[in-house]
Symmetry: C3
Subunit: 212 residues, 3 copies
Amino acid sequence: MVEEALVFWVGAAIFGFTSLMFAALEKRGHGGEMVFGSNIFVSFITTISYVVMALALGTTIAENGQPIYWTRWLFYIASCSILTLDIAFIARKPASKKVEVALFTGLTMFCGFLASIIVTADRWWFFALSTAAYFGVLYTLSKRLGDESVNVTSIMWFVMVTWSLFPVVWVLAPTGFGVLTTFVEAILYLALDLITKVAFGLYISARQDIGK
Amino acid sequence: MVEEALVFWVGAAIFGFTSLMFAALEKRGHGGEMVFGSNIFVSFITTISYVVMALALGTTIAENGQPIYWTRWLFYIASCSILTLDIAFIARKPASKKVEVALFTGLTMFCGFLASIIVTADRWWFFALSTAAYFGVLYTLSKRLGDESVNVTSIMWFVMVTWSLFPVVWVLAPTGFGVLTTFVEAILYLALDLITKVAFGLYISARQDIGK
Amino acid sequence: MVEEALVFWVGAAIFGFTSLMFAALEKRGHGGEMVFGSNIFVSFITTISYVVMALALGTTIAENGQPIYWTRWLFYIASCSILTLDIAFIARKPASKKVEVALFTGLTMFCGFLASIIVTADRWWFFALSTAAYFGVLYTLSKRLGDESVNVTSIMWFVMVTWSLFPVVWVLAPTGFGVLTTFVEAILYLALDLITKVAFGLYISARQDIGK
């Protein structure tokens, strides 16, 4: 077993647990959900993603010989779109902006998938397109359009800073310039997944002024 | 031509016919549809699925040498999500529960796809994840949250019993323990498809107390 | 570099530019959008599609030896469904018809994808299924159900005529009977993409009587 597989199994176990945890929180009415039990789905989709990576079901080899687990980005299309849709609900964006932010997120991750599965220099075209879509996410989230009665500025800053670390890891990992190994990359993504998906979900669930 | 191809062509012909039948029913205002002409789409997507299987466009070989038609599960992601969304409408679930039941269904079928395309023992991980998502479907459908003015208890029981036979076939077929041949499996799935998609759709269309 | 690659790069450049143009129009409140900034997404998804074709990331070889760029149809699933959803908004169709027209469009393009990636005679099954779904699009759009206070008859005729040229090109190109070369096919599709996606979007944005 390659060393990053351990990281992926740890990730699968944690997100399997948090899927159940968010289900229990929602059942007790502490879901704090906006439209639906989104935290459950974000955690559950991430669980599937980690099992797929742990079993190395879809990988390619970078120019520096390190493996690239490109399946991660396909699962992010679903999980991260649900997450930004939720964030748009928290920020009380109008319906059109909710759809836009989810679509921009899906396109960011889809181009990230293409940028990851392609190992030639062509991948930078899709990194550029992914970045363009990500600017769409940031612009739509940061624009002051929503109901300002709830103070969500700190949440928006938290989201925009932590999410922006994903492309930084991508550029440094074998997917980009290969400064980091796949093992270190796996640990960093797991940490970011825990911050943006679990810690964020718990914080939102705990805040009583947000939500329905 | 392998013997199961005949079953698939029969399925394609039946579902092609029922697509037109449900379109005619909807045109005459007997659609009984909740949000849209869902029965048409369920039948039409199933028609495409059966043609893909009849032409054997995507298959893998189980450990016992029998072919596995894994494409079926990709089409179920769309058709069955539409179907459970419809069922959630019939049960007058709140909007958040409608989204949840459709997402759980999609994840059940997606994990079923992974469990079917993988022929090693690893497939049981995805069978377990699919089962977990399916419990989400059953739990969301069975919870009494909706408007109780319409008696839908018998419908929910019918749905939960007949849908639960799909994983039973999966476990007995070459995808699972290989007790059944691919031919018998194809006949059983066709029977279940007819019960859960055509008979169910006709029954819902006929009941006047359900719907808009 | 094959000669059609130049056409695809030109397409990528134009749609990259129109993505920004529609974003600027929307920011200035001249979006004329129905639910969300759909023109931006239609152009942006088309940009990705053209870059994928320019890099020849997914092709198959037709029976006459010409390459088939089947990825185009996968991107049409998303871009054209958004577009017909928008058209259904313009025609003020009821919500159920909006969903139906988008689903029929997605199925038209999905079957078009299968018809394009398959090079044997089996592809005509999917051309037939795609045509059936396309009749669903035309029927749902042409049926007079919406609010007639806005005159959209000319728009509907424009849409139905220009969209119907896509299957004509498909039949004449290497995907069908191979009367046209892949190069000519690429130019014709680019022209149709510009008419149905850019010119149409600009016209809708300019008309003041349509929209919210």
